[in-house]
Amino acid sequence: MLDINKPIYLVLITGVVLTSLLFASALVLHIIVPNMTEVVHTLALIGVVVLLLTPYLRVAVALGAFFYNREYKFVILSLIVLVMMIISFIAGLLFHIAP
């Protein structure tokens, strides 16, 4: 049996380390070198994309881990969460919900 905590921790901590490195370098660059607005914004932009994708990846990895452990009830629950996340996103774009 795979310990479900491990792969999920790995996804989360990778997301944390990557995004904090990106945001920290954006911040430091902005303080040390003014007038590099574009680079700073690009770094922040990549950070945001990584940040937004981490929860999706976290659910997908949980799904895989439960599948590996043959806990099919939790495979279905994770699948519901992932599908709802994707449907909400698509519906939001189609109907211009939220903002």
Partner: protein
């Protein structure tokens, strides 16, 4: 581009929001949105967009730390996420047809009810935590079938606390409404998630805080993408805001397990009163034009 001093001020403010958010399992929008609009003069929609991104930041940094400390109940989180995400989706669709205004009063009442339950259950929770009494209940069928149970090491009292989950279907339903409400009212729902688990489902407060922290990133990610695509995400503020909340959340998670559960309960009581009062104020203003004094 934002001044360096403003960036550092924002970093400090979001650090505090992240810290408190980690202690209580909430997103921290309740601090970040007013800070951005009042101190930095950011338009409300942009402030909400930034706040939602910081909710993901605090959820993954605080969440990872609690998973590492083995306080988070991942199975329970996924069980409840399955209803929260459905609720949030239906809420977002409903928003196209109806306004959520009347919901403010309902959620205000729920907040007051949960505030009262928190303060009234302090003694009982302390006693049950110390005597490891959370196993002495009958699990319902769903909880048994999904094996919803957990344990964590409580650093404040130096022993392991084990628990069984009860009322899982009720919790699943309320979690659905919490998702619905968070989509309609824009409240993150972390406080409601913690209280649902703690008050109704027999989950010790610290495990509920860690599990809620873990969960809130999922609904936030969906709405954050929509704000991002709509171009409402102001990149000037993101780096200091996200970094600040992540650092604050990490610091908060290192402290949370050492705090006596009694104090966490009292913080929750105060927070729920504040949220209840604010929502009641908004609801009454929208429904009848009555203005409550601000606090």
């Amino acid at each position: 581009m934002l001044e360096v001093t403003s960036q550092l001020t924002l970093l400090g403010l979001t650090f505090i929001a992240g810290f408190i958010g980690a202690l209580m399992g909430i997103g921290g929008g309740i601090i970040i949105v007013p800070a951005l609009t009042i101190i930095f003069g950011v338009p409300i929609k942009e402030a909400i967009a930034i706040s939602i991104v910081t909710v993901i930041a605090t959820s993954i940094s605080g969440g990872s730390s609690y998973v590492e400390q083995r306080i988070t109940n991942i199975r329970l989180a996924i069980f409840l996420e399955s209803s929260t995400t459905i609720g949030a989706f239906i809420g977002a669709l409903l928003l196209l047809i109806v306004s959520g205004n009347y919901l403010y009063v309902i959620f205000a009442l729920l907040a007051f009810y949960l505030a009262a339950s928190q303060i009234l259950s302090v003694k009982r929770e302390v006693k049950r935590t110390e005597s490891n009494d959370f196993m002495n209940i009958t699990q319902d069928r769903v909880s048994r079938s999904l094996n919803l149970r957990g344990d964590y090491f409580d650093a404040a009292i130096n022993h392991k606390v084990e628990y069984l989950v009860k009322n899982s279907l009720l919790g699943w339903m309320i979690s659905f409404f919490a998702g619905l409400g968070s989509a309609l009212l824009g409240i993150g729902g972390g406080v409601f998630k913690v209280s649902i688990m703690n008050i109704f489902m027999n989950v010790p407060l610290k495990a509920a805080v860690a599990t809620s922290k873990f969960m809130i990133g999922v609904t936030a990610a969906t709405s954050a993408i929509l704000y991002f695509v709509a171009g409402l995400l102001n990149l000037e503020y993101i780096a200091p805001a996200a970094l600040g909340t992540m650092l604050g959340a990490t610091a908060g998670t290192l402290l949370m397990n050492r705090i006596k559960v009694k104090w966490l309960k009292v913080f929750f009581f105060l927070l729920m009163c504040y949220i209840g009062y604010n929502m009641l104020g908004k609801g009454l203003l929208l429904l009848s034009g009555l203005r409550l004094p601000l606090i």
